[in-house]
């Protein structure tokens, strides 16, 4: 597993950790954190070009 994948796993774990702590009514915060995961993947996929990453990130939504 390379460095990039390690960090993705970690951010995913942060999202999961938050989701565990949050009540079911407060799912939106967890959703936001999931967006951080997809944003990281998009950035990695687009060689950390923010704007290209946003275009592909938005496609995921």
């Amino acid at each position: 597993m390379n460095d990039a994948d390690l960090v993705v796993r970690l951010v995913e774990q942060v999202a999961r950790g938050a989701a565990r702590e949050l009540s079911a009514d407060d799912a939106s915060a967890g959703h936001d954190r999931d967006e951080a995961v997809t944003m990281l993947k998009a950035l990695q996929h687009n060689q950390f070009d923010v704007f290209d990453a946003i275009v592909s990130w938005a496609r995921e939504h």
Binding site: N2, V7, V14, T38, L40, F48, V50, F51, D52, I54
Partner: protein, 787 residues
């Protein structure tokens, strides 16, 4: 078949590399410290495509600086190729240890032919097991892996700071022009408008009440004052005289006209005298009219502290009047524009608002004097258009009392200024007329007709003078603002006003104060609402202009072109060559939402990575991020320990359930279903340590590979006399027998062989003698490892 390694070292600066690893297996490689055993092992790991310096940037930098174009030759390989020769190119190596090893490593030839570096990675592998490794080391390595990865991601995120700042600006702009913001403002504006409409009748009612009560109080005060001082009677008498004088004036004027007509029918001299008298009469009349008009509108002068009857103005008084006119003009323009705005359609106002936004922006950028276009030979500048904007009325405004009031005041102030300006000319004309009359009427001695004209003129002038004087005296006796009505009428008016508002006379003062307070409050509220509504209109215009500008940027600037790509994701979106109106609200809303969400996600990501990077460097951290990191380290460690060889060696062949870093324990279930928990420290010494190493070897053995070198480094504890048996058992056990042809046990010198040489005999003596010779020659010896 075993492989051998030859090294043609070009290292400098104290870096040493052992020159040769023979084909003996299992191989015992024993030597002095500092001769380059470990350094060669790490170079070979690097040559196999793995980065052994990942967490050691300083050691990497040192190696890069010192290793030079060293040549590694690996021969005796099995498979497609037999010999690989790698010439290192450290000048091309990255400054920081890169996990991915690339062509920068060196020039490769395989069996004499140039080859891609990746081909070596495919056919050659190196495993470096350190005998001192314990579970705690594995744990540290796990944290180090994450820390390195996070540092790299942090660096990458830092590199996009500028783009993030740019994104922030674009997000702000999109939010500003978003339909959601427009709708929010629109609702708020409607609410403010309704509030103001609701306020209007209250404001009018309060204003009427204050005006009426002020009038009543004023009249009553005047009545009180005049009755107390006897002025009432005097004013009454003066009014009677004024009425009589006004009634007399038409007769006087008619008498003068009749006398003049008679004179005009006389001799040539009399006709000339008639013309001179008529000019004189007109000049006097003009001066009278000017003086009378000044008295009529003289209250504006009194307000400025200027004597209303003063025939001329000092320079200070003239300046005061000029300033008053200027202020009145500004008020008038403001009210008129507001009134015109009320009369225009929404679309018309929007056009003007948008122009104002653009022109104001140009002024702020220092372009006030920029000539926009030429109109009939006159250059029209930005500021000219800006000032004139919204002031055009296609029809006069007649139904706005407030505007009419300020217009009348402005008109009278301007008239006063004209009266004073014209007065020297009037005086000059009068002087000329008097002189001409004296010349034309006095040359032939006495003339009855001329005498009659002069008498009639004098009578008329007297009457005019009396009217003016009476007006002046009445004005001087009357309090300011007192209406030009009779005392009885004034009393009746006061009674009516008090009845209208059901106010008792003794309470008038308090009622008036309360009413003024109420009116002031309503006026403040109205002013505030007007300001709020105006502000919403300004913002709406700014939004439309901003949206147009943004659309233009998106379609012309490379920096914004990505937004087109985003807009294309709007369901059913259609690009149109027309301006922004072609982008429906849905598109703008989509862009705003997505960019805003992306900015938020990016911010959240950066925050998390920064936090994670910090906690990864300090394993004692607490909090959600530290828990996430610990959870993954626990998970990875559990997966590693759950590998079958390790589970067999350390966990009774059972299933590893959890690793708890907080408690520093491992929990597993034995094949008999028994759950056991043990501290991690329990696996750090003695037989457990051997078991762990055995398990690691087993893992290697379970993954067979061609042309592999397995270095067992720092294995001194296992090779020493009392531990030799366990190591021997380990290496000859069935489970790791597959590694026999790959293992090289690397050791520091285990004895002073030279000193002990004389005490040995037979085969051992031969071995010692060979070892001494090799150590003396190269610093190390190699031989087949014996059990």
């Amino acid at each position: 078949m075993s492989i051998e390694v030859s090294v043609d070292s070009r290292a400098s600066g104290g870096l040493k590399l052992i020159p040769y690893i023979p084909r003996d297996r299992p191989c015992r490689l024993e030597g002095r410290n500092g001769i380059g055993k470990s350094a060669l092992i790490r170079l070979l790991v690097l040559a196999s495509g793995h980065q052994p310096y990942l967490h050691e940037p300083a050691a990497w930098a040192s190696l890069k600086a010192l290793v030079g174009p060293t040549v590694l030759t690996i021969s005796g390989m099995s498979g497609e190729h037999t010999t690989a020769k790698l010439t290192l190119t450290p000048d091309e190596w990255p400054d920081i240890p890169d996990r991915e090893i690339g062509p920068w490593l060196g020039h490769l030839s395989i069996d004499g032919a140039t080859a891609q570096i990746e081909e070596l990675f495919d056919c050659f592998s190196v495993v470096h097991l350190v005998g001192t490794e314990r579970l705690s080391d594995t744990l540290r390595q796990q944290y180090a892996r994450f820390s390195t990865a996070l540092n790299e991601t942090s660096r990458q995120l830092s590199s996009i700071d500028d783009q993030r700042a740019e994104l922030g600006e674009i997000d702000d702009q999109l939010r500003f022009v978003s339909p959601q913001a427009v709708a929010t403002d629109s609702v708020a504006r409607l609410a403010a408008e309704k509030e103001r409409r609701d306020l209007e009748p209250k404001l009018k009612s309060a204003r009427d009440r204050v005006n009426d009560l002020q009038l009543a109080a004023g009249i009553q005060a005047m009545l009180d004052a005049t009755s107390e001082s006897g002025k009432a009677d005097e004013i009454q008498q003066l009014r009677q005289k004024l009425t009589a004088a006004r009634a007399e004036l038409p007769q006087r004027e008619q008498a003068l006209e009749n006398a003049l007509r008679r004179l005009s029918r006389g001799t040539a001299a009399q006709q000339a005298a008639e013309k001179a008298e008529r000019r004189l009469s007109e000049a006097i009349d003009a001066v009278d009219r000017s003086n009378t008009r000044q008295l009529e509108i003289g209250r504006h002068l009194a307000e400025l502290g200027i004597d209303p009857q003063s025939p001329t103005l000092t320079s200070e008084e003239a300046e005061l009047l000029r300033q008053a006119i200027e202020a009145a003009e500004a008020d008038f323009v403001k009210l008129r524009k507001a009134a015109l705005r009320q009369r225009r359609s929404q679309a018309e106002n929007e056009v003007l608002d948008e122009l104002r936004v653009v022109l104001s922006s140009a002024e702020e950028r220092g372009l006030a004097d920029l000539v926009l276009f030429d109109l009939d030979g006159t250059g029209i500048s930005v500021s000219m258009v800006r000032n004139a904007l919204g002031g055009h009325a296609s029809e006069p405004i007649e139904d706005d009392p407030e505007l009419s009031k300020i217009e009348a005041r402005l008109s009278e102030l301007r008239e006063l200024a004209r009266l004073f300006a014209d007065r020297p000319e009037l005086a000059k004309k009068l002087d000329g007329a008097i002189k001409q009359a004296e010349k034309d009427t006095g040359s032939d001695g006495h003339d009855d007709l001329q005498e009659a004209v002069a008498t009639a003129r004098i009578q008329r002038d007297k009457t005019n003078s009396a009217i003016r004087s009476l007006n002046s005296r009445i004005g001087a006796l009357s309090p300011a603002g007192f209406p030009d009505i009779a005392i009885e009428d004034a009393k009746r008016q006061v009674d009516e006003l008090l009845q209208k508002y059901n106010v008792e006379w003794p309470n008038l003062g308090n009622e008036l104060t309360n009413s003024i307070n109420t009116l002031t409050s309503f006026q403040d509220e109205d002013r505030n609402l007007r300001s709020v509504i105006s502000s919403y209109d300004d913002t709406a215009a700014e939004r439309r202009v901003a949206r147009e500008n943004l659309w233009h940027k998106i379609h012309t600037k490379q920096s914004h072109s990505w937004l087109k790509g985003l807009a294309e994701q709007v369901p059913h979106a259609q690009e149109s060559p027309k301006p922004s109106s072609a982008w429906p609200d849905d598109t703008w809303e989509f862009l705003s939402e997505r960019v805003s969400a992306a900015r938020q996600a990016l911010g959240s990501l950066v925050g998390q990575i920064e936090g994670l990077t910090t906690v990864a460097m300090d394993t004692g951290s607490t909090g959600a991020l530290a828990e996430a990191l610990d959870a993954l380290v626990e998970q990875d460690l559990r997966d590693e320990l759950a590998a079958r060889p390790i589970a067999e060696a350390l966990f009774d062949g059972g299933n590893v359930n959890t690793v708890d870093l907080t408690e520093q324990t491992v929990t597993w279930t034995t094949p008999h279903g028994e759950t056991r928990t043990r501290p991690l420290t329990a696996f750090s010494s003695g037989e457990q340590a051997l078991g762990f190493i055995r398990a690691r070897l087993q893992q290697v053995a379970d993954s067979p590979a061609d042309n592999r070198l397995v270095f067992l480094d720092e294995f001194g504890a296992f090779i020493s006399a009392d531990r030799r048996k366990p190591l021997a058992e380990l290496l000859i056990s069935d489970s790791v027998a597959a590694l026999t042809n790959e293992v090289i046990v690397v050791l520091p010198l285990q004895a002073d062989y030279e000193a002990e040489l004389e005490q040995t005999t037979g085969e051992l003596h031969d071995d010692y003698a060979r070892r001494v010779a090799a150590v003396n020659a190269r610093g190390y010896f190699t031989e087949v490892l014996k059990s």
